[in-house]
Amino acid sequence: MNMSDMNATLQPIRDRFLGLLQGRLEDIRINLERALEQPEDSAEALSIIESILHKIAGTAGTLGYTEMGEKARVVEDRIIQDRANDHALQHKVYLDVIDFLEISYEVSERAA
């Protein structure tokens, strides 16, 4: 099977991924707001964001959304580092999550 055949056969999975992506990005946004507004909940909110990013990082690259997948991996790693450093990197993490959301909304809009 050549690359263009492969791309065509992956399209239904890509569509389903994009369908799920809307909800996943919304969950990330809600939890980011929660972390910013209620610092006492930030650890839990970041942990939820981390698990969503983990899922996106695992599939986006295979489906052709390389930049989004790589950014998801970088932000996921950053959240893990932040936790290991007693949340000393939290401000940077929030900015990274915002960057990720911007990249992903753009991909989502382009695909629509």
């Binding site: 099977m1 492969m6 992956l10 698990s51 990082a57 690259g61 295979t62 489906l63 991996r73």
Partner: protein, 326 residues
């Protein structure tokens, strides 16, 4: 192969179904949780030949599930490929320690999945052949014999139920997976049973495999508390990847292992005591060795360990010759 994939991400399961659908020699069924996988396994008449497991899942994770599969006799050697985005060394160590055969990092491509499945197909075929032999056996004795590993002196065979001991192929996959950074603090050690050929010819296959299993336990236990993985490479040689062993007193370690073996009071099935001793080869540091380089380091350590065993026997022989001449 008949494959069971377990992942809580439905997109991964769809991708796997799609990719495996491109390989006519394989069939796949999927489950979104370990509980669903267990229910599927209970319902199937046909055993699975291979498992693809995600690590991070709610409730039971993939590592725990892999460990529980190894406790089921019919799945104690079935290939388990961890399919995961966790590239941290502690996850890789835990996965192989739990009995994983290989590790595929997400995001994955069709060709990489194809390649990894091809690598474990032979193991799946061996397992299937053994299971058929056990089923075909008429008496309990024949079933027992069929369940024993096929023992040949120079070939590795699987050692089951010993903590920290993994299959030889899994050891190669393990070092291939680790990044240069992770390998930096790791060392490969090799230990060979002295006069192993004599033991092989004197013992039954069953007694030889029991002796190898006991020695693997001694080696693995003596390397604690460091993170270690041990595999049996054949010809009485064990290769071990040990983390954080910056300054090893190898002579002392060999003495400790030999004392441990002595304390086990190894014997044949008829009660005859066995005199088993090991020696060590030159350790190899894994600094800046990755992929094939790390596999080559394992090979070199294996060779060095066997050379040491041969040299020690030669030297022992020359001591006697000198004594007679004098």
């Amino acid at each position: 192969m008949y494959i069971l994939a377990v992942d809580d991400d439905p997109i991964i399961l769809e991708l796997l179904t799609h990719f495996v659908g491109e390989m006519p020699q394989h069939d796949i069924v999927t489950a979104e949780s370990v509980a669903a996988a267990r229910a599927l396994m209970a319902d199937q008449d046909r055993p699975f030949d291979c498992f693809l497991l995600d690590i991070q899942m709610p409730d039971t994770d993939g590592i725990e599930f892999c460990q529980s599969l190894r406790d089921i006799p019919s799945y104690n050697r079935t290939p388990v490929l961890m399919l995961t985005a966790m590239s941290d060394k502690k996850y890789i160590d835990s996965a192989f320690n739990a009995g994983a055969t290989d590790y595929i990092t997400k995001p994955f491509e069709l060709n990489s999945l194809k390649g990894r499945l091809a690598l474990v197909e032979q193991i799946a075929a061996d397992v299937q052949q053994k299971t058929s032999k056990i089923f075909a056996a008429n008496t309990l004795r024949q079933k027992f014999d069929a369940a024993q590993p096929d023992v040949e002196l120079h070939h590795p065979f699987p050692i089951l139920d010993v903590d920290g001991v993994i299959e030889n192929i899994a050891m190669e996959n393990y070092v291939t997976q680790l990044s240069r950074k992770s390998l930096c603090g790791s060392v490969v050690l090799g230990f060979t049973i002295r006069q192993v050929a004599d033991l092989f010819y004197d013992l039954s296959s069953y007694d030889f495999s029991c002796m190898i299993t006991d020695v693997s336990e001694a080696v693995s236990d003596c390397l604690l508390p460091t993170q270690r993985l041990v595999s049996y490479a054949g010809n009485g040689t064990f290769v071990c990847v040990v983390e954080g062993a910056a300054q090893i007193d190898l002579d002392r370690l060999v003495d400790q292992i030999n004392l441990y073996i002595r304390s086990m009071e190894l014997s044949q099935s008829d009660g005859t005591a066995l005199n088993v001793r090991i020696c060590a080869g030159r350790p190899s540091r894994l600094v800046w060795r990755k992929g094939d380089g790390a596999v080559e380091a394992i090979r070199q350590t294996h060779i060095s360990s066997e050379e040491t065993a041969e040299r020690l026997e030669r030297e022992l022989g020359s001591i006697w010759t000198t004594a007679q001449t004098a």
